[in-house]
């Protein structure tokens, strides 16, 4: 009986095909891509292959004849594969603004948490998810002209230095976590089982800045500053007329934006309650 096969993952009009050679490889792909549903009536634009062989198992990632990874770490393979896929989804996308951001929703209101790597957006998204917010992504959204958030939903990816801070949130389900030297990937359903796939309208923008040892500070910022900061997180500017600047300006004019500096979770609930926890 053959255990190999093909998995199709889709996002915003594009499908990507991933081949696998056995149930272990299929399990890894499911872990990473189970929220990316195949786009109907679309052929896959690119194919990758994930192979798991030997005992102890070695894993490898391929694009055609090109080996992208070979080694012991499933986490590293998953990290490389999802970044390859994100590049494919963004590179020619012209219909929406691609923003490097986490996103969550509450009662169909979308909360955007934009930031560069290391800003603390994944940690904040994980914590908010554990507090009952609906997790959408910790990495990438497409944002339409009318403010609809289309999230690329994947496991929450945390750097090594954020892991201890979130240890208590993960609880006894540690066997569901994919760990590696770079950090860990946590299925969002471990933090909140009530996940509802959705595309909410943008309601708040929260720019995080993690500073070890800092308390908590929340400041409302102007539309101009919000637009300026959002430009730094705009991933497909070269595909858009005027680099999408006019669209970003229009969206930030009608959305309340905040700068959150935090060094832990103490006091975070009380600080964020007035702007995010209206009903919680």
């Amino acid at each position: 009986m053959s255990h190999d096969g093909t998995y199709i993952a889709g996002f915003s009009g594009l499908n990507i095909e991933i081949g696998y050679n056995n149930p272990d490889a299929k399990f890894l792909i499911d872990f990473l891509l189970c929220d990316l549903q195949r786009e109907p009536s679309k052929a896959a634009s690119v194919r990758y292959d994930v192979l798991v062989v030997g005992k102890p198992p070695k894993v490898s990632l391929w694009q055609g004849d090109k080996q992208l990874y070979f080694g012991d770490s499933k986490h590293t393979l998953a990290y490389i594969l999802i970044n390859e896929m994100i590049y494919r989804f963004i590179v020619d996308h012209k219909a929406d603004l691609a923003i490097h951001a986490a996103a969550l929703s509450s009662n169909n209101a979308g909360i955007l948490i934009p930031g560069k790597s290391g800003s603390g957006k994944s940690t904040l998204a994980a914590w908010l998810t554990s507090k009952g917010f609906n997790y959408l992504t910790d990495e990438l959204i497409f944002l339409s002209n009318n403010g609809v958030i289309k999230p690329l939903t994947r496991p929450i990816s945390l750097h090594s230095d954020a892991v201890s801070a979130l240890d208590a949130l993960v609880g006894p389900d540690k066997e569901q976590i994919l760990a590696g030297q770079r950090g860990i990937m946590v299925p969002h359903r471990v933090l909140n089982t009530n996940h509802v796939p959705c595309m909410p309208v943008l309601s708040r923008i929260l720019f995080p800045e993690y500073q070890h040892g800092f308390g908590v500070e929340l400041k409302k910022i102007s539309s101009a500053k919000s637009c300026f900061k959002l430009i730094e997180c705009h991933a497909n500017a070269r595909n858009m007329p005027d680099h999408g600047f006019g669209q970003l300006a229009a969206l930030t004019r009608k959305t309340e934006s905040y700068q959150l500096t935090y060094g832990g979770f103490d006091g975070l609930l009380d600080t964020l309650r007035p702007i995010l926890f209206d009903d919680k």
Partner: protein, 95 residues
């Protein structure tokens, strides 16, 4: 960067302006550069558009805001420096 009163700033035409109430964003249509200006920065940027020497820009602002005279030179030099570093303006050589 050393700034001289006799230098004349010229605006880089690649930058477009987006106004948000009292604040301004300038962005480059050729690249992805954006520059944030507060009210003071915007005023200096406007005064750079009319072929004036920096010394003249400082004098104009000192006459318009005599109560802030002691801060104006440093503020203008700071804004000019920032605009030049971000390529929003080009400064001619000191003459």
């Amino acid at each position: 960067m050393k700034i001289y009163d006799s230098q004349i700033p010229a605006l880089n035409p690649e930058f477009k302006l987006e106004q948000f109430d009292n604040e301004i964003l300038l962005y480059s249509v050729a690249g992805t550069t954006a520059v944030y200006l507060n009210e003071t920065g915007y005023l200096v940027w406007c005064l750079c558009s009319e072929n004036r020497m920096i010394g003249k820009i400082i004098t104009l602002l000192e006459e318009a805001y005599p109560e802030k005279r002691q801060y104006i030179r440093d503020d203008v030099i700071s804004v000019i420096n920032s605009l030049a570093e971000n390529n929003v303006i080009v400064l001619n050589n000191e003459s």
